[in-house]
Amino acid sequence: MNIAVLSGKGGTGKTTIAVNLAVNSKNAVLIDTDVEEPNSHIFLKPHIERTYEIKKKYPVIDTVKCTLCGECGDFCNYNAILPAKNKVLVLKELCHDCGGCELVCSFDAISFDKRDIGKIYSGKSQNDIPIIYGDLNVGEVSAVKIIERLREIVANEELVIIDSPPGTSCSTVSAVEEVDYAIIVSEPTPFGVSDMKMVVEMLRHMKISFGVVVNKSGLGDNEIYEYCKDEGIVILEEIIFDTEIAKSYAKGDILSYKIEGYSEKMSSIMNKVLESENNE
């Protein structure tokens, strides 16, 4: 079973919930797909057992075969290939590695080379929690390649907890693709609710069942409760804002080991998720 933890707004507690769900679930593997700023490993402090180099292809033009017809440039949606006067200019950092330019080339002039765009690290925490996280090189435009590879690596695992990127961009879509359930971690602030609405829209569009964890409750206002009620969205759990939690988090602690009652809340979330899946 694959469970995504996402939020819309950044800083609502995705990683905190994802890490603690993994800690409290048997046979769970945590993957951190927020590869632009992975931080699950800061809490789990894994011993890295394996590193994968992630590469992305980009087109290389055979100048003998190329007739400068311009088909590749017309096709490319990302301006990565510019058929100019005497040569074809390839802007490899803009290439999304779709392979389309090769398909539209009538002269068999396009082949591909590879370049590094980031890494994936796989290891286990001191308490034997398996964690796999990606790290995208600074300046790269798209994280999707690394996220797809992360999902491939855990394809045969029994239970995968996915710490997703914030927002509703391609990276987030890629992280939640084919999950069985999504947990939206939100906070009861105007920004938290506003961004959560976009996530709800995305998940409904993708036909993924989901529930909400209201983190840092007691802050902000009541909009989140009214919205969930109006939309018929289940609130899985509420975690009251507490400076002890904030202090412990800031030290890089795993809250389940430090805060009384935190483990129980995680188990309760997990049980509700499993229940809702069994009822499907």
Partner: protein, 124 residues
């Protein structure tokens, strides 16, 4: 010879634009018949690579010279690949001033990029 100027609006009286790749429009002036046209910059809303795409657009419009406020590294590579010439229009305020500046040989040719590039619109 056809000269393109980064412009905010249509025609010779338009204000010049302060971007190249994401310029609103381009006014293209033909020195042989003194006529001009204004084209939309189809590259202005690209998520990335607007500079290169704008160069390609101008090449398709048979432009020889481009008058710009600034130029990034990828746009510079594209300018060289398309064998076009770029000049900085400096403190020209209108398209006409920029073209006059060029005709009077008062503008400076740009041979290397003037900025380190922008990050695009990040709609990825």
């Amino acid at each position: 010879m056809r000269i393109a100027v980064c412009a905010k609006d249509e025609g010779l009286n338009s204000l010049v634009s302060d971007r190249f790749g994401r310029s609103e429009k381009f006014v293209i002036f033909d020195t042989t018949n003194q006529e001009y046209i204004t084209i939309e910059n189809s590259a202005k809303n690209e998520s990335g690579g607007a500079g290169g795409s704008a160069v390609r657009l101008l090449d398709k419009n048979k432009v020889d010279i481009i008058l710009v406020p600034e130029l990034g590294p990828k746009a510079m590579d594209a300018i060289n690949a398309y064998e076009l010439k770029v000049y900085s229009f400096g403190d020209s305020i209108t398209v006409e001033e920029a073209i006059n500046g060029f005709s009077d040989a008062k503008l400076e040719r740009i041979l290397t990029n003037t900025n380190d590039g922008h990050r695009g619109l990040r709609r990825v």
